[in-house]
């Protein structure tokens, strides 16, 4: 399972970086979204995946069996919320840029572009 998640994270990073290197704003933003989702998967797989165990330690005096660590999931939850808000802002900003410059090509929107 970890291997699968690691591969998924790697593919998301790779496609994210590829898209960020493209010249269009929309692709850049999709790339950012993929990159942040890639890091979310990475957090999950780096911390280890536990199947079918509750994230609870019922009796602290007994030796702790495999239990699902809830911290990575709460980190991912926080990161998803933050990423969602930031991406929504980036989309609106990209639309504004597109409206004012009439193009979504990064080389054409700068103040120096003709």
């Amino acid at each position: 399972m970890e291997l699968l998640l690691a591969v998924v994270a790697g593919v998301l990073y790779a496609t994210g970086v590829y898209l960020m290197l493209r010249r269009r704003l929309a692709q850049l933003i999709i790339g950012l979204a993929l990159l942040s989702n890639g890091s979310n998967i990475l957090i999950l797989s780096a911390a280890g995946v536990t199947r079918g165990r509750p994230p609870l330690i019922v009796d602290p005096s007994l030796p702790v069996p495999d239990f699902a660590d809830p911290v990575p999931q709460s980190l991912i939850l926080t990161a998803i919320v933050i990423g969602f808000g930031v991406l929504a802002f980036a989309l609106v900003l990209a639309r504004r840029v597109y409206e004012s410059a009439g193009s979504d090509d990064i080389d054409m929107i700068g103040p120096d572009a003709a």
Binding site: G16, M20, L25, L28, L32, L35, S36, S39, N40, L42, I43, S45, A46, A47, G48, D69, V71, P72, L75, T78, A79, I82, G85, V86, F89, A90, L93, A94, R96, V97, S100, A101, I109, G110, P111
Partner: protein, 499 residues
């Protein structure tokens, strides 16, 4: 409880500003009062930390590695005081008038949200919490930067947003890998657990990820190109706020995270940081000399001088780190004052292109005299604070035998002098090339007071150089002696049990 106040006060102020009737006079007064409160609290925190050592607040009484911890050692406390000072100057600058369109779109509220993010980043003792405060601060700065919708400003804002989001992704990746290996996020706990669990390969990868993420945020070579491409577009007060605080949060994070997590000065990452710092100085000042727009010149100077503030970590001695912290204090005051000075030209001539400026010394010598102090303080002319801070940075370099870096720092400070002399000549000294069109509003006390405030503090920093540099040396001592930090956060028995 006191440690939560630098976060709670701007939050409460931001909420109040949002709910109050949108009368600009009222909003300005409330925003300013909030800033003064932050400064007061910050000074009292600094006094407490100075007297009683590191202060810790376990939020919600959750014990240390489990809950969020707020920690103020001397370094954090000094940074919080700077937040208060810059906040007072920037909110004070709004009395001279804010673009009304901006004001109706939550200008004052956003400034306080940003201040909350910066204070949170300086106080938190938890690395994921640091990421969250980074995002709070960034989203406020994104909106502040794109409030105005000219084409140049939108383009600059997009560059800024894109690069900073990339840096956040790097930071989050590093946190994920770190948690996977160490199983904790509390910085003090990490400082204790990580050195035993790390493996050389992962250690190198993690330190480079952190260096890249914080390097983008603080504007280190070769990651700084977004900064001069975006900092010249927002209005002067926002420029002063960004220049004074935002990049410094990146520098703070480098110092904090590297001293706690990577306490091995022989590691390759410190060589990388040393080279990056030196290159930042050179590249920043060469950039500054090639520009004609005053605000671009200042942005490049901002980048160049970041190198002086990170080099202390790379050298890893108490004197070098203390020097870098002193430089950080001086630089925050000087560069914010200069961005506010660029606002004078925007007000009077509606441009900051140096080719069209000039003659301010003839028309208003007092104003020019006021601007002279931060200009030449940044260049390091004695007896101003820049000279003392540069001395504190360069002397330890010679002490540890880094002659090449010391030579670079000296040449770069000469280039800064050249750059500042060029600004002085073009903007103040020589007569204006063409008679300025339209009426020239006189620069009243409202627009000058915040600059005067920062200039006085900068002079104060030079006058009190002895006590202040003793304090920064103590701050460096606390940073290098990680045991004290760990024991303050986790408690004596936990720290002892682990040993």
């Amino acid at each position: 409880m006191m440690l939560a106040l630098p976060i709670l006060v701007p939050l409460a102020t931001a909420i109040a500003l949002h709910l109050l009737p949108q009368n600009s006079r009222l909003l300005r007064i409330v925003a300013f009062a909030g800033a003064v409160m932050i400064l007061t609290i910050a000074v009292s925190i600094l006094v407490t930390v100075e007297r009683h050592g590191i202060q810790v607040l376990q939020v919600g009484s959750w014990r240390a590695p489990f809950g969020i911890t707020l920690v103020a050692d001397l370094f954090s406390a000094l940074m919080i005081v700077m937040v208060g000072i810059i906040a007072v100057a920037v909110t004070g600058a709004s009395f001279a008038g804010v673009d009304p369109r901006r004001e109706t779109f939550g200008y004052h509220t956003l400034i306080h949200v940003l201040l909350m993010g910066v204070s949170g980043a300086f106080l938190t003792g938890d690395i994921f919490n640091l990421y969250v405060w980074f995002e709070v601060m960034l989203i406020a700065s994104f909106v502040l930067m794109s409030l105005h919708r000219t084409r140049a400003q939108l383009h600059a804002a997009f560059t800024y947003v894109g690069l900073n989001l990339l840096a956040s992704a790097f930071f989050l990746t590093a946190i994920g890998l770190l948690y996977g290996q160490a199983g904790t996020l509390n910085l003090a706990d990490l400082a204790q657990v990580w050195p035993a669990r790390r493996t050389p390969g992962l250690d190198a990868a993690l330190s480079m990820l952190f260096l890249t993420a914080f390097g983008i945020k603080s504007g280190l070579f070769p990651l700084f190109f977004w900064l001069p491409a975006s900092y010249h577009t927002p209005p002067a007060a926002i420029g002063a706020l960004f220049a004074g605080l935002l990049t410094k949060v990146g520098v703070y994070s480098i110092i904090r995270v590297f001293t706690l997590l990577f306490p091995d000065p022989a590691a390759g990452v410190y060589t990388a940081l040393l080279v990056m710092s030196s290159m930042t100085m050179i590249a920043g000042l060469i950039g500054a000399l090639s520009q004609y727009d005053l605000r671009r010149v200042l942005s490049f100077n901002l980048v160049g001088h970041i190198g002086y503030t990170t080099v202390g970590v790379a050298l890893w001695t108490r004197a070098a780190l203390g020097g870098s912290i002193l430089y950080l204090l001086h630089h925050m005051l000087a560069i914010s004052a200069l961005f506010l000075v660029s606002g004078l030209f925007l007000r009077q001539r509606r441009t900051t292109d140096m080719r069209a400026l000039g003659g301010l010394y003839q028309s208003q010598p007092v104003v020019a005299g006021l601007a002279l102090v931060p200009l030449f303080s940044l260049a390091g002319v004695p007896p101003l604070s820049g000279f003392i801070a540069k001395l504190a940075v360069i002397a330890p370099m010679i002490g540890v035998g880094q002659y090449l870096v010391a030579a670079i720092a000296l040449v770069v400070s000469l280039l800064t002098l050249l750059s500042m002399a060029r600004v002085w000549d073009a903007c103040f000294w020589r007569p204006a090339p063409a008679a300025p069109a339209g009426p020239q509003p006189r620069l009243g006390p409202a627009i000058l007071a915040p600059i005067a405030f920062l200039v006085l503090l900068s002079i104060g920093l030079a006058a009190l150089a002895g006590p202040v540099s003793r304090m920064t040396m103590n701050a460096a001592q606390q940073l290098l002696n990680r045991d004290g930090y760990v024991r303050a956060v986790l408690g004596d028995e936990v720290a002892r049990a682990a040993r």
